[in-house]
Symmetry: C2
Subunit: 316 residues, 2 copies
């Protein structure tokens, strides 16, 4: 259930007079997403998604919303925000900040094939290219400082061996700095459920609310760990090579990025292992959270640790 705030067609019809997208034909709650209310909106002109933000406040939205607009104007497959008659993307309805975006075609894929991974890599590299001219800036709220502090609160809840592994990886990551690597706008959460696919074409990226400025190959690593992992935590070589080849068909990695690549795959696994452990052991009062299995990312991390050389995916 993901309609936390109810909007009636009558309310919406009035609210839509502040926009240029025609008259309301149909309004339907969307049963996906756990932090915001989403409606599918059909008007005489087209189809849109209306998001009512349940936790983010209006002043926190411009980085994300202007980024989506910026990327859409560059032809990146993502939802384009629609401005109201006051020329603002961020509006208000039923006491909540809102954003109205264009409807994207496509569905998430559960088991992507290599061609889909390749398309995914190419679009991700294009996102990075188009993001280079984006003026906004946002530090990664789930970076090393966050995972170090969060892990420190988790060791007490963990079996000793797991805690040792987590502690060792946090320490290992802390011994490296990546400030010399190309950085810019990253989506930082391009799991399969945040990508709508139409066959082998990217219909669009959604859910930009972890986007931030960080090392670009971190984004590729986050994507690879979800798109190319088998159930046992091993990375599927064919899909990983396709994702990396797609990415590099648009932007080739430099020597420093290739050298940092193995460690970055571990960093990306660590970030989600820690956040899932946190949600598992410390569910927040009043917050609706899907408790997803943290062990998935522990397994991926273990595989990356065992693998001395992941750079093979980069050369095909």
């Amino acid at each position: 259930m993901s309609v936390f705030t109810t909007v009636t067609p009558a309310e919406l019809a009035v609210w839509l007079k502040g926009y240029s997208i025609g008259e309301l034909v149909e309004l339907k709650g969307i049963a996906a997403g756990i932090t915001n209310t989403n409606y599918a909106l059909t008007t005489t002109q087209g189809k849109y998604v209306l998001t009512l933000f349940e936790t983010l406040q209006a002043h926190e939205l411009p980085y994300y919303v202007n980024l989506m607009a910026h990327l859409a104007h560059h032809g990146i497959a993502c939802a384009a925000p629609i401005a109201n008659l006051r020329d603002a993307y961020i509006d208000r309805l039923a006491g909540k900040p809102t954003v109205l975006v264009s409807w994207l075609q496509g569905e998430p894929v559960e088991s992507p094939n290599p061609a889909q991974c390749r398309a995914m890599g190419a679009m991700l590299a294009r996102l990075h290219g188009a993001g280079a001219s984006y003026a906004g800036h946002m530090a990664n709220p789930r970076g090393p400082a966050w995972w170090s502090a969060t892990a420190a609160e988790l060791y007490a809840f963990m079996p000793e061996a797991d805690g040792r592994q987590l502690r060792a990886e946090v320490a290992q990551q802390a011994r490296h700095r990546f400030t010399q690597l190309p950085s810019g706008v990253v989506h930082a959460d391009l799991f399969r459920d945040n990508v709508l696919m139409q066959g082998e074409r990217i219909g669009g990226f959604i859910d930009f609310y972890y986007a931030c400025n960080d090392v670009l190959i971190y984004d590729l690593a986050v994507t690879l760990n979800d798109w190319c992992a088998r159930d046992d935590g091993e990375i599927d070589d064919e899909r990983a090579a396709a994702l990396c080849a797609g990415y590099q068909s648009v932007r080739a990695l430099n020597a420093a990025e290739r050298q940092a690549w193995s460690l970055m795959l571990r960093a990306a696994a660590l970030r989600f292992w820690v956040s899932r452990l946190w949600d598992w052991h410390k569910p927040q009062a009043g917050e609706l959270t899907w408790r997803k299995d943290p062990a998935v990312f522990q397994r991926i991390l273990t595989c990356h640790q065992a693998r001395t050389e992941a750079a093979g995916w980069l050369t095909g």
Copy 2:
């Protein structure tokens, strides 16, 4: 034939590396338009139109291109310009200024029905509403000063009775000022061939290169004279009423606009009668011009002059 500047797929593939829209799949010249070169462009990501400007220079384009972007961001059905990696909509190829825009669905209709006229009116009013927050400004280059000066050069070429009618209308229009009427961004050239339709839905407005700031109902009058005229120059009441009702479903005309309406229909007819007479009698060297029959707009003007009251269309 409307490919004046030839671009090869090889050239285009290189040029596209400056954009985020994927790799070239197909390039096809578009046989429409007489002032610019247009290509239909298919990439791995989608379909686009590439325009190479043959007469307008790069510094003349921002008003039009930023307007298209502004309107598209507000959900108005029009082609959205795509920015390049330098974050510019206006680029250069084969020595010509270029703009790349999203492909629009639909085809022009030759004989619009009342439902299509109604949709057209509503979208036009939405364009006017969304245009209110557009920062650019451009005087109408085809306004009273232009038609007065141009008509003065045409009388010598015209049969005496026609010249008398033209002179009288120019004088009649000069006796009125419309500065008190709501004004803003107008397309000023929304003939049927500049509107792509998908059934009764507006697929998109194209060809914004006469857009300017002027009286809003002038735009409605220009549209009505083309969309609702029968071959004999009489206006079809049902289509005219539908167009006006569609418009007013979004923005109701005020008293001053209703009073000025009949004269505005004549002004809109006069503008195109004069420009067609000019193209007929004074074709410019080196300019490719479709010599369209000026008499069409003379007949429309004559009908408007004979009709003492066109306001009936405004009340349905």
